[in-house]
């Protein structure tokens, strides 16, 4: 009974219906009708949606704009990439126990941090644990000294920039420039097979829905309301006795781990992970997904991620030189004219509809 009531807090009955219909659409109808070549692309979009949710939870509800989430996304991806490399040990181009790029660099032994990644369970644990730990330490240092707003954004951007430089180096042990690629099998299933691609798509869809429900659960909880309070009036909330550092640290670390999960699902579907995923511009693009869809709405984040990436896929192919203008213009237009994003811009219409319905109900 209590649990049911909690579900009612998360969504109205109609809301749950919409969630269920959309889940069915994404999980059953789309894979049934989509041509096989589109499946990995759509699966990629699902991962972007998950990352956008992580971003929205942080920015939309806690007011923390991270410009370094690309780092956590990429770290998750690297964790998965390491598993994919290690699980096919001995079957690379050089038939060596080591990943190909290490043979190429003439390394004799596996670096210590690569051990254990041949086990899927260990890899999954690590790909969530490492980004989480990094976020925890970094967040503790920054939130503790009350760094916030643009300062925090800049420092997170510097963090991902520094990490990108680090990963670009061959000596770091993650394949340098080229990153990790040439994956073959995931848990024994060949990645090229249509059935594996479909399975990955379905897992990504599951992760997206799960992440959505988790975020929804958090933002409708008391914790979520404290976060919103911190976003709108941090000083007042602190004076009410809420330790802002702990709340922020929690949501920051959780968001980083969700982002890492998205990255981990993203990598087997695109077949490569390299340091360019950590470019500051990638992280900033994540912010624009959320801004386009509407901050603090969760559903808006997903819509924004899909719209921006759909536009990118189409424009970079059709008008390559126009893409940067479109993206830049999007940044400016959204911040100037649609500060609440598409969902926010749609809200007055929704309200108008609701009013009309009520009127009709009253009329009958």
């Amino acid at each position: 009974m209590n649990a049911l009531a909690r579900l009612g807090e998360m969504h109205s009955r109609r809301g749950w219906l919409i969630v269920a219909v959309l889940t069915g659409l994404v999980g059953v109808a789309v894979p049934a009708v989509a041509p096989p070549y589109l499946v990995p692309l759509l699966g990629k979009f699902l991962c972007f949606g998950t990352a956008a949710l992580a971003m929205d939870l942080l920015w939309g509800y806690a007011g923390i704009l991270s410009l370094g989430h690309g780092l956590f996304f990429a770290l998750g991806g690297y964790g998965m990439g390491m598993y994919l490399m290690r699980s096919i040990a001995g079957q690379g181009v050089y038939r060596s126990e080591l990943p190909d790029f290490m043979v190429f660099l003439d390394w004799k032994a596996l670096p210590w941090y690569w051990h254990g990644f041949q086990h899927f369970g260990v890899a999954v644990f690590m790909l969530l644990f490492v980004p989480g730990l990094l976020a925890l330490v970094f967040g503790w240092l920054t939130f503790r000294s009350r760094i916030k707003g643009v300062y925090l954004s800049i420092v997170t951007q510097a963090l991902t920039y520094a990490a990108m430089l680090l990963f670009f180096q061959n000596a770091t042990g993650f394949g340098g420039n080229n990153g990790l690629t040439d994956f073959k099998r995931l848990l024994g299933w060949p990645l090229q097979a249509a059935s594996t691609k479909l399975a990955l798509y379905l897992v990504s869809a599951g992760a997206l829905v799960g992440t959505y429900l988790l975020c929804r659960f958090i933002v409708t909880s008391k914790l979520g309301r404290v976060l919103t309070a911190l976003r709108d009036a941090e000083l007042k909330t602190r004076f009410c006795g809420y330790e802002s550092t702990n709340y922020k640290l929690f949501v920051w670390t959780l968001s980083a781990m969700l982002c890492a999960l998205a990255g981990a699902l993203y990598v087997p579907q695109v077949g490569i992970i390299n340091p360019s995923e950590m470019q500051p511009s990638n992280s900033i693009e994540m912010a624009i997904w959320v801004a386009v869809g509407g901050r603090g709405t969760l559903s808006g984040a997903i819509i924004g991620a899909w719209l921006v990436n759909g536009g990118k896929s189409w424009l970079t192919a059709a008008f390559p030189s126009a893409w940067l203008y479109a993206l830049g213009g999007l940044f400016v237009l959204v911040t100037l004219f649609f500060p609440k994003g598409l969902v926010g811009a749609g809200a007055p219409f929704a309200a108008w509809f609701a009013r009309r319905r009520r009127k009709e109900d009253a009329g009958t």
């Binding site: 951007q157 510097a158 940044f331």
Partner: protein, 550 residues
């Protein structure tokens, strides 16, 4: 070995005697007798008998008169001709003139046909050392320098004596240095241990790293337990010389890092000055600020192209014209952005950050379409090319010195503007308390616009400076933006002194860490340092109460 020494010694003694004789001759009759002998010897170069040619060359060597150099050079170069009258002429391949071998005057009535003087390898072998010797006596320091370098490269045992003698009578410092080097190089190969030790002491004093591999070979122990150098005393001297060279190398690389750090700091300061002012005043982060650097560089490039096409005569001064052009262009763009976009976002710093990032994407793409995606080259004008050579291997390029001087002038100008003018007073007032300043009748909107323009203009000036240090490409600004934000974060908002100190610190630390830890680890170390530093002083080095903290 003994035989070679004997021959060398005899010829050396012979030459010494001859040159002694020639010196005596010079003393006795500086004019007619000597001139006659010289004329005779030069004409002898064109003789038909090979023996006479060789003998003439030797006589020229004995006379040691630099005036004979052109003729001898022409001989070795196959430019010496014999006229129908049996006299020697130098053939000028460019003007097709015959010239007198001593005065080099054009002889219009040279009796043709002019026949080429055949030069055998034997003659060349005799002629080359004499040629170098005569060149060492040339009146022009540049010629002597070239001769010293050529001689030392030949590694000829005979060259040693020549060089020693030339060194003794040389006065020009530059040529002396080159000669010392040449002497050391030749003596290092000398069979006498004493000469080698003397050479090593010279090398130790010079600290010249070109000897390093030679010296290391001398001190290295080979597989059978013998050393490259048999004499222990010489080995000891070599070890000392190696240490001196390494110390010199460390010094040069340290000084080089410092200089690079200083010029990096200058560029960062250009970017950070504008950022610090606008951030302190408006509380917004301008992500397109790096693109102002880039636009300033492209404005410099455009000015250069314009000067090349329309005023090639005044090309030297294009850079002076580029300074106001870049400043005005970037300032106008900055003011335009402030009026059309950024002013609507005041009070929403995170949105401003995203919007200005969008602007920067648009600017980059525009520059790519107009100027192309490739890097363009901006030339240093001649007065910024080259540099001052402090010691061997350490050159202070004029371009870097110019950039450092320029940033000092600009930072001084900004300080003056902010501290000593009415506009500066207004700016400081608005920074500290916007609404109170507005109540006192300051037009805060106009101040916002002008300061945004000024900040962009300063970055544009930074672009002029940057164009003199590196290539100019559309992504130029992106590589500096993160570093310049770090400067602002570290220095504290709206504080000139903080920006200066932080830019200097970051620039120099960056470049000092580079050789120690590599460029990447250096960058990471700086970032970690900043994060830890903010723990202690969240408001930066020089905190001031302003709108951001409010």
């Amino acid at each position: 070995m003994r035989k070679a020494t004997g021959v060398g010694g005899r010829s050396m003694a012979g030459r010494a005697a001859l040159s002694g004789a020639s010196a005596l001759l010079l003393l006795l009759s500086a004019s007619s007798a000597h001139a006659g002998l010289l004329e005779d010897a030069v004409q002898g170069l064109a003789a038909t008998s090979e023996d006479r040619v060789e003998e003439s060359i030797r006589r020229l060597g004995a006379l040691d008169d630099a005036r004979a150099w052109p003729a001898l050079d022409a001989l070795c170069d196959d430019r010496l001709r014999v006229g129908a009258d049996g006299k020697a002429y130098i053939w000028d391949g460019k003007t097709h003139d015959a010239r007198d071998p001593l005065t080099l005057a054009v002889v219009a009535a040279a009796p043709r046909p002019l026949k080429e003087v055949e030069v055998s390898n034997e003659i060349r072998r005799v002629a080359l050392p004499v040629l170098a010797q005569l060149r060492l006596g040339s009146a022009s320091a540049a010629e002597r320098l070239a001769a010293a370098e050529e001689l030392s490269k030949s590694g000829d045992a005979q060259a040693g004596g020549l060089l020693h003698r030339a060194l003794d009578r040389e006065h020009d410092k530059k040529v002396r240095d080159a000669l010392t080097l040449a002497v050391a190089r030749v003596d290092l190969q000398s069979p006498s241990a004493d000469a080698r030790v003397a050479a090593l002491q010279l090398i130790k004093r010079l600290g010249n790293d070109e000897f390093l591999s030679d010296l290391q070979r001398m001190t290295a122990k080979s597989a059978d337990g013998t050393y490259g150098e048999p004499d222990a005393r010489v080995r000891q001297a070599a070890t000392a010389a190696i240490e001196a060279i390494l110390a010199q190398q460390r010094f040069v690389s340290l000084a080089g890092s410092l200089l690079h750090g200083l010029s990096l700091a200058s560029v960062l300061l250009f970017a950070a000055l504008g950022l610090a002012v606008t951030f302190g005043l408006l509380g917004v982060i301008n992500m397109a600020h790096g693109e102002m650097l880039m636009l300033g560089s492209y404005a410099t490039y455009a000015t250069q192209t314009f000067f090349k096409a329309h005023m090639p005569g005044a090309f030297r001064f294009y850079l002076l014209a580029a300074i106001p052009v870049a400043f005005l262009v970037t300032m106008l763009i900055g003011m335009l952005l402030e009026r059309t976009i950024i002013r609507f976002l005041y009070g929403r710093p995170l949105e401003t950050l995203l919007a200005t990032w969008g602007i920067s994407l648009g600017l980059i793409q525009t520059v790519r379409l107009v100027f192309g995606a490739q890097n363009v080259a901006v030339e240093n004008p001649d007065w910024l090319a080259g540099g001052i050579e402090l010691t061997h291997g350490l050159v202070l390029p004029w371009s870097r010195i110019g950039v450092i001087g320029f940033v000092i002038v600009v930072a001084g100008g900004v300080w003056f503007l902010l501290q000593k003018t009415r506009l500066g007073l207004y700016v400081r007032a608005v920074t500290q308390n916007r609404s109170m300043a507005a109540c006192m009748g300051i037009s805060t909107k106009r101040i916002d616009m002008w300061m945004f323009g000024l900040g962009s203009g300063i970055a544009g000036l930074g672009g002029v400076a940057l164009s003199q240090l590196s290539n100019v490409g559309p992504e130029l600004g992106q590589s500096y933006i993160i570093d310049s934000f770090m400067v602002v974060v570290l220095g504290g908002v709206g504080r000139l002194a903080g920006a200066v100190a932080a830019a200097l610190g970051l620039g120099i630390i960056n470049k000092l860490l580079e050789p120690l830890a590599g460029a990447v680890l250096g960058k990471i170390a700086v970032l970690v340092f900043i994060i830890l530093f903010i723990q202690r002083r969240p408001q930066g080095l020089f905190a001031i109460k302003g709108r951001v903290e409010a």
